[in-house]
């Protein structure tokens, strides 16, 4: 089992490229530890800006740096970054089109036991409604590296959400074709499709493997980019498999499931089941316990799949 969390990979990648490019800058809000940016601060102290616990200022400063030619990466807990700074994200980043990459760390239910103040289960919904910002949730450490490398070469605004703990590998290496906005088919099949994002991709892959043992061919789409959304892959899945399940570590409102449903109903209506966190303050507990409680686990997704296939 992989022991390296995605946040560590982000730090390592930014250190690797930051050594040769002084325009790469990291901004933290007393979050260098939780973002695993300690090594960046040590290796490239002149390229790290600490703003203290002040998330509005964090994003505003990043936008000002970006408007002056810097490639800024803002690393702060997703729960605060996506809410406390949302107007700066809307105006200073998305509307002004500054080269700011927002890294929401400890996303979703990572801080499960800390309660709703520390859960980020609305971030995708909020970001999706703002024009001019990409939304990306990598599935594992290899994909995380590819996301950061891709972001280093584009000039647009982006929000990347990752979890706190190390997650199981989906890929064997980072040598595969990754493109922002292009879904990846991890498992072929025409009986139904599971579309997942971020760390829920693992649940989708495991569910498909179980379904395979009982003769069900389940397509799995890794929808790492929620915006711009790969509508073509969704429409194709609707047409070819006729049934879709979405899985996300996010509210059932406004996230991946909503995005998929918007495409499906307007292009090729088929039954869709949206799995996520219901409209309530999520029950506190370790993230895996909470995810299981809400059915974001292989057993339940398999059950839903079988119901859908009846």
């Amino acid at each position: 089992m992989n022991k390296i969390p995605n946040r560590q990979i982000i730090c390592d990648t930014l250190v690797e490229f930051g050594k040769d490019d002084q325009d790469i800058m990291v901004l933290t809000s007393d979050s260098r530890g939780s973002a695993s940016m300690g090594n960046f601060a040590k290796e490239l102290p002149e390229q790290l800006i600490e703003v203290g616990i002040a998330e509005q200022n964090l994003v505003g400063i990043a936008a000002g740096l970006a408007a002056s030619g810097k490639k800024t990466f803002v690393a702060s807990p997703a729960c605060f970054l996506s809410m406390r700074s949302i107007e700066q994200i809307k105006v200073d980043v998305a509307y002004s089109q500054t080269n700011v990459k927002l890294i929401g760390i400890s996303g979703g239910l990572s801080y499960g036991a800390l309660g709703m103040s520390h859960h980020s289960l609305q971030d995708i919904a909020v970001m999706r409604a703002i024009p001019g910002i990409d939304i990306i949730l990598p599935a594992d450490r290899f994909e995380t590296k590819l996301v950061i490398k891709a972001l280093l070469t584009n000039k647009g605004a982006a929000y990347v959400r990752i979890g706190r703990n190390a997650v199981a590998d989906i890929y064997e290496s980072d040598s595969y074709d990754f493109q922002i906005g292009k879904a990846i088919t991890l498992s072929e099949g025409n009986d139904l499709t599971i579309i997942a994002t971020g760390e829920m991709v693992k649940v989708a892959v495991d569910t498909a493997a179980e379904l395979k043992t009982i003769g069900i061919a389940c397509r799995v789409l890794n929808m790492h980019t929620i915006k711009p959304l790969d509508e073509g892959a969704i429409i194709k899945a609707a047409k070819e498999t006729g049934k879709i399940i979405t899985i996300e570590e996010h509210s059932i409102f406004g996230g991946l499931g909503s995005a998929v449903a918007e495409v499906v109903v307007q292009n090729h209506p088929v039954p869709v089941r949206i799995l996520g966190i219901p409209d309530e303050p999520a029950i506190p507990g370790k993230s895996q316990e909470v995810l299981a409680y809400y059915g974001l686990c292989t057993d339940n997704v398999k059950k839903i799949a079988l119901q859908l296939l009846k």
Binding site: N57, I61, G64, A67, S68
Partner: protein, 276 residues
């Protein structure tokens, strides 16, 4: 060399342009734009190193209009300086015009989109930090409103500017003591405002925000203290230059009738703003 008299005449002409724009568009922040006209005129015609032919020059001075609603005088100046054809001012607030009611960076010369209050200082801190990192010699100026001082994000930014010793940053407060609902002390007590900025680690200088000569001296001299950001408290009169608008909260967002429009132009022409 531009003289103080030239600058005064220019400010009067800009005020006329503001009245024309608001009257034509039937919308605008008239009082706010007249309040900051002398500050912006001083900056754009005698201080800022900016080139309308090359608006993206790397070492240009940066200006951020944090009180983005006071945009008419800003557009009038950018148009007058040739960042875009001055004729375009006639499209202010029209459907499809790039000269919308708050600054946006589709307009040449405008650095960032503002309008949501309390953002400009953080952006300016970022720009000043970038200048320090790049050993750039440019300075960053931002103009805030006094009502805007109630925004908490300003104080986050103020703290960080002092922390990073950004002596290449000059923040100006257009201290006209009025906001949309009335006086600033009625809406939210701000005083002692100069002391608050001093306590946040800034070098604070007070000036009459309509005294172009004094402002020019201060802006040219900044930073006053090495290692400290400069806060210029510019005491102003909202609606300055049009007697019936001065110090009347209604003119924050008021639009003149035809009679008021003619009276305003007449008064400004008498002050040397040319023919009506």
């Amino acid at each position: 060399m531009v003289t103080i008299e030239d600058l005064k005449a220019k400010a009067t002409q800009i005020r006329k342009d503001v009245i024309e724009m608001v009257y034509r568009a039937k919308t605008g922040h008239t009082g706010s734009s007249l309040s900051n006209t002398d500050i912006l005129t001083t900056l754009y015609y005698s201080i800022l190193n900016v080139d309308p032919e090359n608006p993206d020059l790397e070492n240009r001075d940066r200006f951020i209009l944090s009180k983005g609603h006071a945009v008419e005088s800003y557009y009038a100046i950018l148009g007058d300086k040739g960042f875009f054809p001055k004729e375009e001012l006639k499209t202010f607030s029209e459907f499809g015009s790039r000269l919308i009611g708050h600054p946006n960076n589709k307009v040449p010369g405008v650095e960032m989109n503002t309008g949501a209050l309390g953002h400009g200082l953080s952006i300016s801190v970022g720009m000043a930090l970038a200048a320090k990192k790049n050993q750039g010699s440019y300075r960053v100026f931002t103009l805030m409103g006094d009502g805007e001082q109630a925004e908490g994000s300003i104080w986050e930014a103020a703290m960080s500017a002092a922390h990073y010793k950004l002596d290449n940053l000059v923040a100006i407060i257009d201290r006209n003591k009025l906001q949309i609902s009335g006086t600033t002390d009625f809406v939210m007590e701000l005083e002692p405002l100069e002391d608050k900025w001093k306590a946040f680690g800034w070098e604070v200088i007070a000036v009459d925000g309509h005294d172009i000569e004094k402002m020019q001296q201060i802006f040219a001299a900044a930073p006053i203290t090495k290692g400290k950001p400069t806060l210029v408290m510019a005491y102003t009169t909202k609606g300055k230059g049009v007697c019936y608008m001065e110090n009347v909260p209604h003119w924050h967002h008021g639009v003149p009738t035809v009679e008021e429009y003619e009276q305003a132009l007449e008064e400004l022409c008498d002050k040397g703003g040319g023919q009506p």
